[in-house]
C-alpha cells in the first residue's frame, strides 16, 4: 500500500513500510517501551530471514488522514497509560514531520509486559 502525492514535477509515493519504520523508531525512543510486538506473519517472515514491520497497521480514510495501530511491549514497572500516551504523541509528531500526512489516530495495543533483559 502506497500513499500518493502529486507535485508539479511528478508523483511521490510513500510505501506503507516507510510509515511503519518511522513509527517503529519513534516508538523505541519512548522510555518504558521494550519494542514492537510481532504477529504470526512477522515471526514466520523472520524465520525466513525477511525483516519487515508489518505488525504496524496503517489505514487512510477518504480525506487522506491516517490511522495507525502499533502493538508494543512495555517494560515492567512503567505506568502503561503514561507510556501509551507518550507513544501516541511521539509517533504522531514524527510521522507528521517526516511525511506531511495528517495523523488522525494513533492506536496503541499493549501486547506484553517484559523485563529489561528480555529482547524483542
Amino acid at each position: 500500500m502506497n500513499r500518493y502525492t502529486k507535485t508539479e514535477l511528478g508523483e511521490i509515493k510513500i510505501h506503507h513500510n516507510v510509515f511503519a519504520s518511522i513509527a517503529t523508531e519513534a516508538t523505541k525512543q519512548v522510555m518504558g517501551v521494550v519494542g514492537i510486538s510481532g504477529n504470526i506473519k512477522t515471526y514466520f517472515l523472520e524465520l525466513l530471514g525477511i525483516k519487515n514491520s508489518n505488525s504496524i497497521k496503517i489505514k487512510f480514510d477518504k480525506n487522506n488522514d491516517a490511522t495507525i495501530t502499533i502493538p508494543i511491549v512495555v517494560k515492567y514497572g512503567y505506568n502503561i497509560p503514561e507510556v501509551a500516551s507518550k507513544v501516541q504523541e511521539v509517533v504522531k509528531l514524527s510521522l507528521e514531520n517526516s511525511t506531511n500526512v495528517a495523523i488522525k489516530e494513533v492506536n496503541v495495543k499493549i501486547q506484553e509486559i517484559a523485563k529489561d533483559h528480555e529482547q524483542y
Binding site: 490511522t67 500516551s85 501516541q88 504522531k92 489516530e105 496503541v108 495495543k109 501486547q111 506484553e112 517484559a114
Partner: protein, 200 residues
C-alpha cells in the same frame, strides 16, 4: 442480521443436511447404487464438475471468513481498552497476565504462579491465580497480601478504575525436604573407578 449470523445459519443448515444424508444412508433409506449413480453422473459431466468446483471454493472461502471473524471477535473480547485524545489504547489480557507473572517472580515465597485473567463488562476484571508456594510461608497472610499487591499493581500500572477480583488457588506447597531431594537427584553420581587388574 450480521454476516457472522448468516454464515452460522448457513453452516447449521449444511451440517443438518449432511447429518440427514448420513442417517438415511445408515438406515438404508438411501441406496448405495443410487448414490453411486449420482456420484458417477457428477464425475462424468463437465458442467456438474464446474458447479462442484465452484461450491468447493465457496465452502473454503466461507470457512476462512468464519475463522477470521471468530478470531477477531475473540481478540476484541480479550482486551481492555480506553480512549485518549490521540487514539485508542488497548491492553491485551495476556499483558495483564505477564505483569502478574512478573510480580510473582519478585516474591520469594512463590515457587510457581499461573495467572488467568478474564474481563467482562458486568463483573469487571477477574484474576485467577494458581500458586505453588514454599513451605515456610504463612498461607492466609501471604495470599491476602498477594491479592492486595496484584490489585494495586494492576490499578496503578494499567490505570484501570474497574472492579478487580483476585482469586487465589494454592495448588501445592514445596517443602524443604522436597527441594533438597531434587537437588540431590540433580547432582550426577561420580563414576566408580574400576581397576581391571589391581596390583598386589
Amino acid at each position: 442480521m450480521k454476516i457472522y449470523d448468516i454464515i452460522i445459519i448457513f453452516y447449521i443448515i449444511v451440517s443438518a443436511l449432511l447429518g440427514a444424508v448420513i442417517l438415511s444412508f445408515s438406515f438404508n433409506i438411501l441406496e448405495i447404487n443410487d448414490l453411486l449413480f449420482r456420484i458417477s453422473t457428477v464425475y462424468s459431466s463437465p458442467n456438474a464438475r464446474i458447479v462442484l468446483t465452484a461450491s468447493g471454493i465457496f465452502f473454503i472461502l466461507i470457512s476462512l471468513l468464519l475463522a477470521q471473524i471468530t478470531s477477531a471477535k475473540r481478540e476484541r473480547e480479550k482486551t481492555i481498552a480506553f480512549n485518549n485524545p490521540s487514539g485508542q489504547v488497548t491492553i491485551t489480557l495476556f499483558a495483564v497476565e505477564d505483569l502478574i507473572r512478573k510480580i510473582g517472580q519478585e516474591l520469594p515465597q512463590v515457587k510457581e504462579l499461573k495467572p488467568n485473567v478474564i474481563a467482562t463488562k458486568k463483573r469487571g476484571i477477574q484474576v485467577n491465580i494458581r500458586l505453588v508456594l514454599r513451605s515456610e510461608t504463612n498461607i492466609p497472610e501471604f495470599t491476602a497480601q498477594l491479592q492486595e499487591i496484584v490489585k494495586n499493581r494492576i490499578q496503578e500500572i494499567f490505570g484501570i478504575d474497574e472492579q478487580i477480583i483476585v482469586r487465589i488457588h494454592v495448588a501445592k506447597i514445596i517443602t524443604q525436604v522436597e527441594k533438597t531431594k531434587k537437588k540431590i537427584e540433580a547432582v550426577p553420581e561420580e563414576p566408580e573407578v574400576k581397576i581391571p587388574y589391581p596390583r598386589i
